[in-house]
């Protein structure tokens, strides 16, 4: 596998020139009470970067932060946000084949989870040509904490960013 160091400026340039691959979250529970998340007319008016960095993906399910400790969140304080978006790309000249899954949970006033474990929001496999950007939308917002995990049979370095948005719902 070949690795390279790039600056954030270079990363931005690649974002502009590279075509974007998209992965749809499978196993996303669809129920009437969550119908708001599926409405097509949504206009974000505020976006925050919740996490940005490099993740070494290997055969273990790892948080984007690199840990394999399932109780640790990847992002916290996500309560105000309607949606989360995960964008990034993997270094190397081989096609990308990275599995990912998204968990969420709610916490009390002290930051203690209301229950054990997590709620599985969805999972997907990101398959793109080399150095192509991917984008995953996580539509189930307003959970307090999320854990985004990745896994790859071939070790890969993934540069990525998690952003969250608040927006208008045109209902």
């Amino acid at each position: 596998m070949s690795a390279e160091r790039i600056t954030r400026r270079e990363m931005l340039k690649r974002l502009i020139v590279a075509p974007v691959g998209a992965a749809a979250l499978a196993t996303l529970p669809v129920r009437e009470a969550s119908a708001a998340a599926l409405q097509p007319h949504y206009e974000p008016y505020f976006v925050a970067v919740l996490w940005e960095g490099r993740t070494r993906c290997d055969s273990l399910w790892r948080s984007l932060k690199g840990d394999v400790v399932a109780i640790l969140p990847t992002v916290q304080g996500a309560t105000p946000y309607d949606r989360l978006y995960w964008t990034g790309y993997a270094l190397g000249s081989a096609p990308v084949n990275v599995a990912m899954r998204v968990w969420a949970r709610a916490v009390d006033h002290n930051g203690v989870s209301l229950g054990s474990g997590w709620r599985l929001i969805g999972q997907a496999t990101i398959q793109t040509p080399p150095l192509r950007w991917f984008r995953v939308e996580i539509p189930e917002g307003h959970w307090d904490e999320y854990r985004i995990e990745v896994r790859s049979a071939t070790t890969r370095l993934v540069y990525s960013r998690v952003i969250a948005s608040q927006g208008y719902w045109k209902e």
Binding site: E32, T79, Q166
Partner: protein, 118 residues
């Protein structure tokens, strides 16, 4: 414009066959929340201890009585997470969040979302 989130409730309720709200009030006219007209949506998340479904009834109204209601079921495995999105058709001063079902524990949280100008 920015969305402001307020935590309105965090608690544990023993669900029973008789309906009561998350504050353990059985009186059907008692609101769970008052002064809630500024919220456009509510997000109710939590964990239920049993595998049996829990029925819920949501009501919105004011001092003149309940004017809107919506019911549903929280389903899932024992110790599984649930999420209910509540988007009432209008803004109401009072809301009541009522549950009933097979005895089990409901550990949950309700947040309200409102938009405020920056």
């Amino acid at each position: 414009m920015r969305t402001v989130i307020a935590t309105l409730y965090v608690g544990t309720l023993q669900v029973e066959a008789t309906p009561k709200d998350v504050l353990n009030q059985a009186e059907p006219l008692s609101p769970t929340f008052v002064n809630a007209a500024s919220f456009r949506a509510f997000y109710w998340t939590g964990v239920k201890s049993g595998s049996a479904p829990v029925a819920y009834m949501l009501r919105g109204g004011n001092a003149n009585g309940w004017q809107w209601s919506q019911s549903g079921q929280i389903v899932g495995n024992a110790h599984g997470w649930f999420r209910v999105v509540i988007k009432p058709p209008a803004r109401y001063d009072w809301y009541r969040v009522e549950v009933l079902g097979t005895p089990q524990t409901l550990r949950s949280k309700i947040i309200g979302a409102m938009e405020v100008a920056e």
